[in-house]
């Protein structure tokens, strides 16, 4: 049984649903530690006071918010905590939206909300979310801060996504892309569309494996065996100017 990271209650109206929260994702990349190349010793991160020029242990530090150059307002842990609000361990679902209408950019991190004491209210909420296809929106206090969350049915549990706020999301017009220039030609669009339909596949996450992890582990073993690692020159693909010709050639190679 996975370990839960939080206990609380989801409400909608007068129905209270006791839940346990679990992480839904984990990173599987090969992790390295920092090493000093000169002597192979580990690199340590030290927090140093520039005035005293010595490492400062955690108990001699405070948290400060910079209000002017070099001027800080010091906040105690409890004062930062106060900003998390008064919701405690309760997530009120305030309103419901079509879960598919939420653009992917808003989703941040996903948790699984499982039942506490395997209660009836949990099964009712899960089933209602599943059948309606809606996501309940609420606020969630976790580790002394508050998040916007969307609760929806996910596989056979309630999934809880923390969400980005609208002003945390960059929009296309803020990119200042160069304008003007010629629009793509009708024939280029048709060929590109054809190419897309040739590459269309049903999404199965298991089709996409992280092969880099294995490549890196392979590399580590080669290096450990004393092998010289070939530093390949950058393989920069060609950026041809003839778009139509590139599309045509892609279609020809794809259909062969």
């Amino acid at each position: 049984m996975p370990r839960s990271i939080w206990n609380g209650t989801i409400t909608f109206g007068l129905a209270a649903v006791p839940i346990k929260l679990y992480s839904a994702t984990e990173s599987k990349s090969v992790s390295f530690h920092e090493v000093h190349l000169n002597d192979g010793a580990r690199v340590e991160h030290k927090r140093v006071c520039p005035k005293h020029d010595r490492e400062i242990p955690a108990e001699e530090t405070v948290k400060g918010y910079e209000v002017a150059g070099g001027k800080y307002v010091v906040l105690e842990k409890d004062e930062i905590k106060a900003a998390a609000g008064d919701r405690g361990k309760v997530i009120h679902l305030e309103e419901f939206v079509d879960a598919t209408a939420i653009d992917p950019v808003f989703f941040e991190k996903t948790y699984y909300a499982g039942p506490r004491d395997d209660s009836e209210p949990y099964r009712v909420l899960f089933e209602a979310l599943r059948r309606s296809g809606r996501a309940g929106i609420g606020r969630f206090s976790f580790h002394d801060r508050e998040y916007l969350v969307a609760a929806r049915s996910l596989e056979n549990v309630i999934g809880l996504h923390t969400m980005r706020f609208h002003d945390e999301v960059v929009t296309g017009d803020q990119l200042d892309l160069p304008g003007g220039g010629r629009k793509p030609a009708r024939r280029e669009i048709e060929m590109a569309e054809k190419l897309i339909s040739m590459l269309e596949e049903e999404f199965d996450p298991r089709d996409h494996e992280d092969s880099y992890r294995d490549s890196v582990l392979e590399l580590i073993k080669r290096k450990a065996a004393g092998e010289e690692i070939d530093l390949l020159a950058d393989v920069e693909p060609e950026h041809g100017d003839d778009l139509a010709a590139a599309l045509e050639a892609s279609l020809a190679s794809g259909s062969s």
Partner: protein
């Protein structure tokens, strides 16, 4: 423009477009710094060699890996040799409809912007945006950034190519052991719950939600700066599950059918009073007054709104 986090090419068939990756998420958090309590100086993070006690610059740092008790060290360049093509190219291998991907797979949002503004680059970039926009399809591909490979979904958003990094299938945990093992809930209870959900349904409008935490934190900082005292608000108590779930659902349904929101429905049983109105700004209070249809709300100030809402 935002800082490029990666640069290379996106490759679609034999069409290669030089691009740069920029973040599509803007950090709006209030950042705190570690200070030395004694002199309120901001602490500096230093990389120090554990043997020589000298500061180590970025260029002198290698990637160490513990292979069966033996340390193996790779340089940036050697690591780049693991998958040279993927380090420089996002190869599109397939297309799929956006709705086929569950949000659990989405990680961080980025934009791909054209690198350089040559005629050829811009035309190819615009072609990708145009066709993906028309087809409503997302392109799936993989690439390597720093020391990790990413699965990426590329699509058109706001006239640009948006890239979202995704989690690999084995990075998503199984929910099987967490799921309820109990019997199917009563149909009437579920029907009532769905009716409540439909009553409380609205269109997804991201601008409806503001980061109250950020605002409260700003207020805490401002208050502290003036020498004020900050007390943690009393925490709401966790409500107990209703003795009679069916009755609770029916009472909730009645309240929301009579035009009440989730908040009123919660309080219909005389339960906890919910969040602290004092902490909301006028705009947020006004929205609540709107929902509760409080007469004369447009002329009310913050104080009057709080008074009217607490009645």
């Amino acid at each position: 423009m935002a800082r490029a986090l990666w640069s290379g090419s996106i490759s679609f068939g034999l069409v290669n477009v030089p691009v740069q990756l920029v973040s599509a998420a803007r950090d709006q958090d209030l950042h705190f710094h570690q200070l030395h309590a004694e002199d309120k100086r901001r602490l500096e993070q230093r990389r120090v060699c554990s043997e020589e006690d000298v500061e180590v610059s970025w260029e002198e740092v290698g990637h160490g890996y513990d292979l069966d008790g033996k340390q193996v060290v790779l340089t940036d360049e050697e690591l780049g040799a693991a998958e040279p093509r993927k380090t420089r190219t996002i190869d599109i291998d397939s297309f799929t409809p956006l709705e086929a991907i569950d949000p659990i797979y989405f990680d961080h949002p980025y934009f791909l912007v054209p690198a350089g503004d040559s005629e050829g680059t811009m035309r190819a970039y615009r072609l990708l945006v145009a066709v993906m926009d028309r087809e409503g399809q997302v392109a799936l591909g993989r690439f390597v950034m720093r020391t990790k490979e990413y699965l990426a979904a590329v699509r058109a958003r706001d006239g640009a190519l948006a890239l979202t990094t995704m989690r690999f299938a084995d990075e998503v945990r199984s929910a099987e052991q967490i799921a309820s093992q109990g019997k199917k809930p009563a149909k009437r209870a579920v029907d009532n719950a769905i009716a409540i959900i439909e009553e409380l349904s609205t269109a997804w409008e991201p601008t409806d939600y503001t980061d109250c935490y950020r605002k409260r934190l700003q207020r805490v900082v401002a208050k502290k700066r003036k020498g004020g005292k900050i007390a943690a608000p009393e925490q709401e108590r966790e409500p107990e599950p209703a003795e009679d779930l069916m009755a609770a659902l029916e009472r909730t349904l009645k309240t929301v059918r009579d035009g009440g929101g989730a908040r009123e429905a919660r309080n219909a049983g005389g339960g906890a009073s919910g969040d602290d109105l004092e902490e909301l700004n006028r705009e947020e209070l006004y929205e609540r007054a709107q929902r509760e249809d409080i007469p004369g709300r447009s002329k009310m100030g913050k104080k009057d709104l709080i008074a009217a809402l607490s009645r």
